[in-house]
């Protein structure tokens, strides 16, 4: 078997007394769409923050395609090809849709020449145009991203993920807050992306997870509770307990809402 896309060794991050991620060791095989689920506070987003360099671990190591990336700055990790989205939709609100895509392409490579016009970069402009058409935002190319509807921002996020040509894409709750129609559109897009890119997705919507994931990892209290195929996870008693045992859990409520929708 080849080197895993992503591997962690005894990864630990504490916030005060709380171990948000606790001695976590796992590895992700290539060409699989991997989902991470778990109740709130399980450490999923902290794990993404550790991998993408937004926080540095207290202990343990992270490897990307066999190269250690532990403790590197976010922009260095990004330039290696690890791209991510944030849990709360996060674009550049005062830039236009096209500019958002443009800077996403140029952010990761090349010299940011102050003596040239950004508009004279034909190659990037063409790439932006192609992506705009691909994600269906071409009519809104010159709108300020901050004025877009929630669903369009989500599409832009996906466009930014695509155009950055990631080797590994980390999606943090990409369908959170979307309408059912928007969700199915996003799911379609993610599935299409997964054919050429390694993707790890954090998702609360179980319907989405079981629909698209090849592998599922369940996290709880900073560690891995279970890991396996959707079928195995669905049958796992411990997972049921973690999710359904606590009736006041927000996830449970959210899931119920989706089930009745």
């Amino acid at each position: 078997m080849t080197e895993p896309v992503l591997r962690t060794e005894n990864l630990t991050k504490r916030f005060g007394g709380l171990a948000a991620v606790n001695d976590l060791s796992f590895s992700l095989a290539s060409a699989r769409l991997h989902a991470i689920i778990g109740p709130n506070g399980a450490g999923k987003t902290t794990l993404f923050n550790l991998v993408s360099g937004l926080v540095t671990p207290d202990n343990g190591r992270v490897f990307f395609h066999g190269h250690e990336i532990t403790g590197l700055k976010p922009h260095r990790i990004s330039r290696l090809g690890v791209k991510r989205t944030l849990q709360i939709k996060s674009v550049f609100p005062r830039l236009s849709v096209a500019e958002n895509l443009w800077i996403t392409v140029r952010g990761g490579r090349g010299f940011l020449n102050p003596f040239r016009f950004a508009a004279s970069d034909r190659a990037t402009a063409e790439k932006v145009d192609r992506t705009l058409t691909q994600i269906g935002l071409a009519p809104l190319a010159h709108r300020q991203a901050g004025t877009l509807s929630y669903g369009d921002v989500a599409l832009l996020e996906i466009g930014m993920a695509v155009i950055s040509e990631p080797r590994l894409l980390l999606l943090d709750e990409p369908t959170c807050g979307m309408s059912p129609a928007e969700t199915s559109r996003a799911v379609e897009k993610i599935r299409e992306l997964a054919r050429s890119i390694d993707i790890v997705i954090i998702e609360h919507d179980m319907e989405v997870v079981f629909e698209i994931a090849h592998d599922i990892t369940v996290m709880a209290q900073g560690g891995i509770l279970a890991s396996g195929s959707p079928r195995e996870i669905a049958a796992d008693e411990r997972v049921r307990e973690a999710y359904l045992g606590r009736e006041e859990d927000e996830d449970y409520v959210e899931e119920a809402a989706h089930a009745s929708a």
Binding site: H75, R84, L86, I103, N113
Partner: protein
């Protein structure tokens, strides 16, 4: 008329007015107002320095007077102590300001928002008191008076700031050049990276932008603008003084930039012009003219957070929307982190 053509006509009118100032203004008012316009142009560069940081990369500095002061002292010490001619002294002022911005920026741009604002104030206060106490170098409160060297003294050209018309055009040319550089910068790949960091620094780092290095770059560029302003002001007044390094000066530049419209090219010029004209008109009649500054600043921040240029853009957007009903992006956005 469409919005675009109105703006073009106004810009052309502004440019024509600025070129005609040495003849038009004495005819309309008196000679004194020519130097007021020159002063507005100089101070607008300090406001532009605040604007580059606040409006384009999202860092609010309350210490830009420090680099203005270094520009001033670079020129004054260069001429007075080292007997430099005009251009080397000018260069010394600007380079001193940029070097200072680099040294302080290395520490300051690690921080953002109020922490950044506080550290910039602290740096400027430290050097303000150092300048006050080291009288042998800076002249302290009295400052340094120097004899003006000629600007051009070669190939039969003899021009110096003693000729008010030449002085005005030199200042106008430098201010226009700085504005052009700003315009090019904002439209350049580097400028786009600045804007991305202003909008969302975490996201910017995740798409591969080196946020720290880019902020430091912007900080040194802002030091350049403040340094040019300081160097010009030294030649304009034939002296340098520590009082111009006080944070009161930095604060005024922040007000000018924000009232004029942060994140716009002409905002700093408009804001500076507004306040200096009010000051010149009112201060002869009423000593408490700074009350007006305060009231206007508070009103603008509450009523029109994007400044005078922001109000103008909204008008133009409404005018443009009269033709077609496309939304014009004139929607207020949060700028908090």
């Amino acid at each position: 008329m469409t919005a675009v053509s109105i703006e073009r006509v106004l810009l052309l009118a502004l440019a024509t007015f600025l070129v005609a100032v040495p003849w038009l203004v004495p005819a309309m008012v008196n000679d004194f107002w020519v130097s007021v316009v020159a002063e507005i142009l100089i101070w607008s560069l300090l406001a532009a320095s605040v604007n580059l940081l606040f409006g384009y990369i999202g860092l609010l500095s309350f210490g830009q007077a420090l680099y203005f002061g270094f520009g001033m002292y670079g020129v004054a010490i260069g001429v007075d102590a080292f007997h430099l001619s005009f251009w080397p002294a000018f260069a010394l002022g600007v380079v001193a300001a940029m070097a200072m911005a680099l040294v302080t920026g290395i520490f300051a741009v690690r921080l953002t928002w109020h922490y950044f604002a506080i550290i910039t104030v602290v740096f400027s206060l430290i050097f303000y008191f150092l300048a006050l106490s080291n009288k042998w170098l800076t002249g302290g409160d009295d400052g340094i008076n120097f004899t003006l060297p000629p600007t051009f003294d070669t190939f039969g050209f003899h021009h110096s700031f003693t000729d008010p018309t030449f002085q005005y055009f030199f200042i106008l040319a430098v201010a226009a050049l700085c504005l052009l550089v700003m315009y090019r910068l904002v439209a350049s790949p580097l400028g786009k990276a600045f804007l991305a960091i202003r909008d969302n620094d975490v996201r910017a780092s995740l798409i591969g932008l080196n946020v720290y290095l880019l902020r430091l770059t912007a900080f040194v560029m802002a030091g350049f603008l403040a340094g040019v302003a300081g160097a010009l002001f030294a030649f304009f007044g034939r002296y340098a003084s520590a009082t111009y390094m006080f944070y009161h000066v930095s604060g005024e530049a922040v007000v000018w930039a924000i009232v004029g419209g942060a994140g716009t090219l002409l905002g700093p010029l408009v804001g500076t012009a507004l306040f200096i004209i009010v000051r010149e008109v009112v201060s002869t009649h009423w000593e408490h003219h700074s009350l007006i500054v305060g009231v206007v600043a508070i009103l603008v921040v509450i009523v029109a957070p994007r400044g005078v240029i922001g109000i103008w853009d909204d008008w133009m957007a409404r005018l443009a929307a009269g033709g077609d009903d496309a939304p014009s992006g004139a929607i207020e956005l949060r700028t908090e982190p």
